[in-house]
């Protein structure tokens, strides 16, 4: 696929030419369309079943429209979203059967936990062996942002609902190539307070019928920029004394410092006459590690989804990486669903499938709450933001053959399911599509295509799922 220079630069996110360009090849799309599209990539840890069971309660029995809603999908019905959400079932993420066999394209090694996220979100073939939880290519959200973010101040909003991540990589979803070609994570924000500060601090809420006094605000902003400028200068000076490896670390730090400084210097005016409305500051975050280790993730999801929706409405961002939980999910489910233990042990036990389904439903619910908000926000032409958005929810595994431990287990990437919502680019939502043997990244690619990315592959995975547009 040929790319013009503009598309190339967009794919690069405006940074120096290098390895990142290679992964943007094949990606093209709308530049600064008058009607912007939005993209959300979400993820919930663990699988859809428990033990060696060959079943789930997420996939409808009816194929096509008017599908039946089963226990794990119940929030979709409860929130009135059945016509907005499509279920894609029968997906397969291939694997290598031994530690020496090459990993198939877009596949993973036989080891489960560290290795099923990257191929789904990036399409990039995983490493052989146990792996380390890092993808081998940039994630779709970053690639999409390179095409549709335009001049929005936040190219990608990376948030995570689960407050206390078990481990850094397990709690990361969004990865991009920096200017020197290194794949680096965009750490998710888990604090609603920080998410708000990062997105909305510095703005003045429009005052109907009057001109707000912004002098105090401008002074605060000027001071913040002044501090950042000073610290950046110090980082620059320090860099000259550092060895090569530390210099690279400091360069990355400096780049991010400059990014914040730039964001504060170029705060756009919040649009008027739209659904855009500066949210109220969320105040103190819910405590981390409360009863049973629960950190009130429900409230966190409420606020974070509010912020994503309003960032879209206010044109502060068009792309979100919205992680519900870590992979290998150790979120304790006692308060969310009543199960006395974490999601990980739940799927390994011999508990009733309904308990696992309730945990899956809890993740679906957090994702669905965002859809409700996007559906309620209007564009200037009267349509909803959801009409021009594509959202995908991926899971860590499905059920079936487990090549790591042998036999059947939740550590399987057979019978995987992805949910997709929104109507951007002609997505026909509200259907159950059986896509036997298709790769989950093909659902992601479908969403990418829907928002205007004209690529025909994501990483090593080729082709979207045409039924989603029919």
């Amino acid at each position: 696929m040929r790319l013009d220079r503009r598309t190339l630069l967009r794919g690069m996110g405006g940074i120096a030419l290098g390895l990142p360009a290679l992964e943007a090849m094949g990606l093209g799309g709308k530049a600064e369309a008058a009607t912007a599209t939005r993209f959300v990539l979400s993820y919930g840890g663990l699988s859809l079943t428990r033990g060696s069971l060959n079943a789930d309660e997420l996939v409808p029995t009816v194929v096509g429209r008017n599908y039946d809603v089963r226990r794990a999908l119940q929030p979709v019905a409860d929130l009135g979203l059945r016509d907005d959400v499509s279920v894609v079932s029968g997906l397969l993420l291939p694997w290598s059967r031994s530690d020496t066999e090459p990993v198939p394209p877009g596949g993973r090694s036989r080891f489960f936990h560290f290795n099923t996220v990257g191929p789904q979100t990036s399409g990039a073939t995983g490493t052989s062996g146990r792996g380390g939880g890092r993808p081998r290519g940039p994630s779709a959200d970053q690639l999409v942002a390179g095409v549709i973010a335009g001049n929005t101040p936040q190219k990608v909003l990376a948030y995570r609902v689960q407050a206390a991540s078990g481990s850094a990589d397990a709690g990361r979803l969004s990865w991009y190539r920096n200017g020197s070609g290194t794949l680096v994570p965009q750490d998710p924000i888990a604090s609603p307070r920080l998410a708000y500060q990062s997105l909305f601090s510095g703005f003045t809420a429009p005052t109907p019928g009057g001109t707000p006094d912004t002098s105090k605000l401008q002074q605060v902003l000027a001071q913040r920029r002044s501090v950042l400028d000073f610290v950046g200068g110090e980082a620059n000076r320090l860099m000259t004394r550092l060895g090569q490896a530390d210099r690279a670390r400091m360069q990355l730090h400096l780049t991010q410092l400059r990014d914040l400084e730039q964001r504060l210097a170029t705060l756009p005016t919040l649009p008027t006459g739209t659904s855009c409305k500066q949210p109220t500051a969320p105040g103190t975050d819910p405590a981390v590690g409360g009863e049973f280790g629960y950190s009130d993730e429900e409230t966190r999801a409420d606020i974070l989804s509010d912020l994503i929706a309003m960032a879209f409405a206010c044109n502060l961002s068009r792309v979100a990486s919205y992680m519900i939980t870590d992979w290998k999910c150790y979120l304790n489910m006692k308060i969310p669903t009543g199960f006395s233990g974490d999601m990980h042990s739940l799927t390994h036990g011999s508990y009733p499938l309904s308990m696992v389904s309730d945990a899956v439903a809890w993740m679906v619910k957090q994702w669905a709450k965002l859809i409700v908000k996007l559906k309620a926000l209007r564009e200037t032409d009267g349509g909803t933001i959801l009409d021009r958005t594509a959202l995908v929810l991926l899971f860590e595994g499905g059920w079936g053959q487990d090549p790591e431990a042998g036999g059947r287990s939740p550590h399987s990437t057979e019978n995987m399911v992805a949910l997709i919502a929104g109507r951007a680019g002609g997505l026909r939502s509200g259907q159950h599509v059986r896509a036997a043997g298709k790769h989950p990244a093909q659902v992601v690619l479908s969403a990418m295509n829907a928002v205007g990315v004209t690529a025909d592959s994501l990483g090593d995975v080729h082709g979207n799922i045409p039924q989603l547009f029919q």
Binding site: A168, D169, Q256, D259
Partner: protein, 553 residues
């Protein structure tokens, strides 16, 4: 299974550390001449080449380490007297190795930058709202909004604490030029203090532990830390916090250039409560209970405090061998925890020392914090408990099932006992690994994941828990007390904790040849005998190796 060199090293040379008073020696201790390096201005051009360490001194690789959220909170506490500890869940999560400070996995991200900016701004706001704290931090009373002398004094004094080194004159001038005009403009001296403090708290040399050092003659990529870097390394190793003024003064006076000087500084630092907190945190991360959860946060906190108190009493209050942490016959409980463990109630809502009596409990492994390992579905997993003991306390790695092994057990009857289900692991391809884990977990089954004693299984009350355990090749046991004694008997516990202390201290999990050489030297010196953890730490930080670094790559 025990493929680690550490075990060999640990068993090879059982020499008690207690006998080792003049440094570790053998090429890593104080055998070399005193360091001729003199304190020098930190930013005044490239440092002069330094002499190499004594021949054979292993020198570790080190890179720039970002402060963990715990260390950043400590920094706010020590610099600003701010005890709010706001960083957790604002700063990005760190990889657990099980420690949270592996710099090789740290990446600067937007979340870090935005998070530090938020934390710094709010911390300074809190400070300025409290005149007492503010005045203590500023250190002088301004005579006017643009009081140059007071501002310079503040920047010089505070800057030395924040950046862990004296500021060069041109640096003070830079702060003054950038920020003092804002005070003049606003008519308020503290406007400049506000922005300068925010700059300090976001300064790369505050957020990161930067080590450069002087190039060592004839040793490409090897550097000798300057006295400030040595002081900072010492402070973060022993306190998880920046140096205080006393340590900075010692560095300034050249007191950290000799083994004796560092030993003396370290001895003082180990008497500080910060050392106690750091050692407690090390154990919490190592034994995986730092992030434990319980039905109520109060219960989790009580258990963590119980374990911290046990460690603090043995290591710091009574100066006993570290191994006594696993032998102590008393524990630190309030009525809440005493009820939990079936101990006599101390009649107090605040914890007191209570004897374990005849409960067959002893030391750290009998406490709810450690016993939270292997919690699964509101009960315990026998296998995961055994795995935790093997991996955490013996530093073994249990491999995943090999290809082709069917891990699906025959369906058990709903009424089957856990012991029957576990017995199925002893069949076929499962047996080789499960025989290492399951017998260990079985020996702890009488204690649930909240540390309560039980005789019957949680999910099937008709199943009597046998509670018989075994550590293959070592012996059999029943309960955490006997397991503790067996672990101590293996001698491997010494080697394992030593390696974990090293990883925690140096901030990287993966060890290269020099790291392994260093750990082996320490392990050989300690052997299988009891040792005092504070002595070990003093020996480690005063070794020549501690004052050098190698560049990555």
């Amino acid at each position: 299974m025990q493929s680690s060199w550490v075990f060999r090293a640990g068993l090879a040379l059982p020499v008690a550390l207690a006998a080792c008073t003049g440094g570790i020696g053998d090429g890593i201790g104080g055998a070399g001449p005193d360091d001729p390096d003199q304190p020098r201005a930190p930013v005044s051009g490239p440092p002069a080449p330094a002499p190499p360490p004594p021949a054979g001194t292993p020198v570790s690789v080190s890179g720039m380490r970002r402060l963990t959220s715990w260390e950043y909170d400590n920094t706010l506490r020590d610099l600003l007297r701010d005890n709010t500890r706001p960083s957790r869940a604002i700063l990005p999560a760190d990889e657990r190795t099980p420690f949270d400070n592996d710099y090789t996995s740290q990446v600067a991200s937007k979340t870090l930058i935005d998070g530090v900016e938020l934390l710094a701004g709010e911390a300074v706001q809190r400070l300025l709202a409290n005149a007492t704290r503010r005045d203590a931090v500023v250190g002088c009373t301004p005579k006017s909004a643009g009081d140059t002398a007071c501002f310079q004094q503040f920047v010089t004094r505070f800057g030395r604490r924040a950046l862990r080194r004296p500021l060069a004159a041109e640096e003070v001038t830079r702060f003054q030029s950038a920020f003092l005009p804002l005070a003049v403009q606003s008519g308020d001296f503290y406007t400049a203090v506000d922005v300068a403090l925010r700059a300090f708290l976001q300064h790369p040399e505050t957020i990161y532990r930067v080590e450069v050092g002087a190039p060592v003659t004839g040793k490409p990529s090897m550097f000798r830390l300057n006295v400030w870097e040595t002081g900072a390394r010492l402070a973060f190793t022993l306190w998880g916090s920046p140096p205080d003024d006393i340590l900075l003064d010692q560095a300034q006076a050249g007191g950290l250039t000799t083994t004796a000087g560092v030993r003396s500084a370290a001895a003082r630092m180990l008497k500080d409560p910060r050392a106690r907190e750091l050692v407690a945190r090390f154990h919490g991360l190592w034994l995986s209970y730092e992030s434990m959860s319980a039905p109520t946060p109060e219960l989790a906190t009580a258990m963590q405090q119980e374990s911290a108190a046990t460690i603090g009493r043995i290591v710091f209050d009574e100066g006993r061998p570290w191994q006594d942490v696993f032998r102590l016959g008393e524990t630190f409980v309030s009525d809440l925890l005493a009820k939990q463990y079936g101990l006599p109630l101390p009649g107090s809502t605040t914890p007191k020392w209570v004897g374990y009596g005849a409960t067959n409990r002893q030391g750290l492994l009998s406490q709810g914090a450690f016993l939270s390992n292997g919690a699964e579905g509101g009960d315990t997993s026998i296998t995961l408990r055994g795995k935790a003991v093997r991996e955490l306390l013996l530093c073994e790695e249990i491999p995943p099932p090999p290809p082709g092994v069917d891990a699906n057990l025959p369906a058990a009857a709903p009424t089957a006992c856990k012991s029957d289900q576990i017995a199925a692991h002893s069949q076929g391809g499962c047996a080789s690994c499960h025989s290492l884990m399951d017998p260990v977990g079985s020996g702890l089954e009488n204690y649930d994941a909240l540390g309560r004693y039980r005789t019957r299984e949680a999910t099937n009350r008709t199943c009597i828990i046998a509670g018989n355990g075994a550590l293959s090749g070592v012996g059999t046991f029943r309960g955490p007390a006997e397991l503790s004694n067996l672990l101590l008997k293996t001698g491997r516990l010494n080697a394992c904790v030593l390696m974990q202390v090293y990883r925690f201290t140096m901030g990287h999990k993966t060890l290269d040849d020099a790291d392994r050489q260093l750990v082996m030297l320490l392990a050989d010196r300690i052997g299988t005998a009891d040792f005092k953890l504070d002595d070990l730490l003093v020996d480690f930080v005063s070794a020549d190796s501690f004052r050098f670094r190698r560049e990555e790559g």
